[in-house]
């Protein structure tokens, strides 16, 4: 058994870590946090130059074709430094959707731009508050043009095009739902940035008013393709969350070793030690679940759906737990703007929602486990 990343993949991790330590400093993240720009353009360019955007995109479409395990490795490193770039929107969502459902022509048209970073894609899915479900999709396509309002759209202000989830008919059934590629720089698109709890990632509202829409995948398979894309993205985001959780744990550990109170390092108090031990436990469980999902993703296993949901839930809980407790270990200093604790706290709470809230993923996991149980019986 070798349930671990290979030596080559670990080398890639080290390379990414070195690069990000230099380029994605707290100062750089704060440029976006404080609204100086919508994302870190020079970091984005650097990631593209190193070929990180295209590791899972086949060579014939402009990537390096290394694979999804390599993408998981990079995701973890991006999560560790709360990178303020549209990586998830463009690569885990848009590129994955096109690789999964696109025709050869569509792959040739869109993937090279995504791999080189010249084009940025996203997924326009949500339509306001509430749980992710087919019934929540109201956007409508008629005569090849989409109308409706999507909010929040991650990186909606930045993206060049979006995969839009919309209805192709009006039967009200799930089979009406289809995926479309829509040029966000063209006509019939109106967008504006929205404030959010995590300004290091852009959020936008996009109003479509007869924008030209190009069908992606079969018109009656939109919802099942969407869930498959979300499963794949969940695995990759889980690695970002694991990276963030472990970084938060390290920050808490380091602070507990340095900070003195009552004449001793606070890390010598059991009340503090136990907080950190519990952070280690949740981060470790999340990492192990993420590994299994990475294996399922890279081998296109039939267990991917269940593994992705488990990884998503585990990593979401771990990152939220670790980022929250990191502030607690830091005490008052952890609640200052100056310390980086809040960057992780913000990111953990934003990532927890981006692919649909916890209840959606709990349903995915339990339904899939139940199906497997019934099949086994």
């Amino acid at each position: 058994m070798n349930f671990d990343f290979s030596d080559d993949q670990k080398q890639l991790r080290d390379q990414a870590r070195r690069f990000l330590a230099e380029k994605c400093t707290s100062k750089a993240v704060r440029q976006v946090l404080e609204g100086k720009d919508t994302y870190d353009r020079s970091l984005w360019k650097g990631l593209a130059e190193l070929g990180f955007l295209g590791v899972a995109i086949p060579e014939e479409f402009g990537g390096s074709g290394a694979g999804h395990l390599e993408l998981c490795v990079i995701a973890e490193e991006l999560g560790r430094v709360v990178a303020p770039v549209p990586f998830a929107s463009s690569i885990y969502l848009a590129a994955e959707a096109i690789m999964l459902a696109g025709t050869d022509a569509q792959k040739r048209k869109y993937l090279p731009g995504l791999a080189s970073g010249e084009k940025i894609g996203t997924l326009a899915l949500f339509e306001g508050k509430g749980k992710l479900s087919p019934a929540a999709i109201k956007a409508q396509v008629a005569n090849g043009a989409v109308s409706g309002t999507k909010t929040p759209v991650p990186d909606g202000e930045i993206a060049d095009f979006a995969i839009v989830v919309a209805r192709s008919g009006n039967s009200g059934r799930e089979s009406d739902i289809a995926l479309y590629i829509v040029d966000l720089t063209g006509k019939g698109v109106e967008r504006r940035s929205l404030q959010s709890i995590d300004p290091t990632h852009n959020q936008a509202e996009i109003k479509f008013n007869g924008a030209p829409a190009e069908l992606l995948g079969r018109a009656d398979e939109g919802w099942s393709n969407l869930t498959r894309v979300l499963d794949r993205a969940a695995v990759l985001v889980a690695f970002e969350q694991v990276g963030g959780a472990e970084r938060a744990l390290e920050m808490g550990r380091d602070y507990a070793l340095d900070r003195m109170a009552f004449g001793r390092p606070i890390g010598s108090f059991q009340a503090v030690k136990h907080i950190l031990a519990d952070m280690y436990v949740s981060a470790t469980l999340a990492r192990s679940n993420a590994y299994y999902a990475a294996w399922a993703l890279s081998t296109n296993s039939s267990e991917l759906a269940e593994a992705a949901a488990a990884a998503r839930i585990s990593a979401t809980q771990a990152f939220q737990h670790c980022s929250k407790q990191n502030i607690q270990v830091h005490g008052g200093m952890g609640f200052t703007w100056e310390f980086d604790c809040h960057l992780y706290y913000r990111r953990s709470n934003a990532l927890a929602l981006g692919l649909g809230s916890m209840s959606y993923w709990e349903d995915q996991l339990i339904d899939r486990m139940r199906t497997r149980n019934t099949e086994a019986a």
Partner: protein
Amino acid sequence: MNFDDTPQEAKFRSEVRSWIAANAPKELESELKEASLGRIKLKSGDVLQLSKEWQKKKAKGGWACLQWPKEYGGRGSTPIERVIWQQEEGIYNKLGAPFLIGQGMCGPVLMTYANDDVKKRYLPPLASGDEIWCQLFSEPSAGSDVAGLRTRAEKDGNDWIVNGQKIWTSGAHYSDYGLLVVRTDPNVPKHQGLSMFFLDMKSPGVEIRPIKQASGASEFNEVYFTNVRIPDKQRLGNVGEGWNVALTTLMNERYAIGSGVATGFPEIFDYCNSLMTEDGPAIDDRAVRSKLATWATRTSGLKYTTYRTISALSRGERPGPENSIGKLVAGSMLQEIATFALDLQGAAGVLVDNDQKEVAGQFQKMVLSSPSSRIAGGTDEVMRNIIAERVLGLPGDIRVDKDVPFNKIPTKGRA
């Protein structure tokens, strides 16, 4: 990233598989499958006897204590081969319970500290299950602080005379020998005044009494020592170095890697999947799903953490204290699950009456027995200290009794 055996591992696995297929006591298979929680009982016969028979068979086939040297009844296997054996032995593993402490903890101490004669005499029958060993460490006033133990041994010629009391000794009543740590010098700080011995459990002056636990069951014992005479040649390690010898034992708690700990999750999932409420199946309830999902991911998280450990073994690395998370996570989960299952049953959840208990009262049993899973083998708090100090590198606690002679350490709380 894969779950595949190396060619060498695959060859070993197929050898194990065919031996088990030809030799395992298949007549016990269904009963062992059901015996999922707690101490097992078998209708087919006396568990201890059946366990000894299986162990004997394994020993004859060369499959006992795989990682021990051949000359002491083992097979000289690598750690990964032991894990493969354990995976393939599957449910028959449960028959190994009476030997776990002797083979997992006492054996390694003998291997490290005993002379050749002692090793040749005692290790082979320990491996074959002919002789069972227990471990006599904990005391009523020495639990997490085991080095604070008070059982005394005083030198008398070539013997030592032991007086005191041990507690929580699993299997003392059917054990032939015991590994015993005692205080040989109360005038020095606590860690420096301990010595390790082994003794015949039938020695005059040894009295074993079962403990009635909070759950009502009796799975452990108290062992009393009244002027028990132990020859000095049964000492392991130097006088005053018993703590270091004890640490060797405690380090071998890692023996459990890959065997899996009870979480209660399969039971609660099946229960919620089959339970009908007035609003429909319990598993369709939003609150139920949320809890199941969290427990499911903790359970799978533990499983794949074990896989990562096995991968490290397969690469020839030695796994470290990271493995303490298994017990920590599983123990409290078991308790949460049991409490939740009773709540699903409403007021009737209180019942264990034969006529009216739900799913054979398994969750009621779990409620009452689960507190021990957070204490035995290191409390949750001790496990967290281990993770914090040995994995995360945080400083040890300030020890107020560190340089104080043992007999000057305060023993009263509220005066």
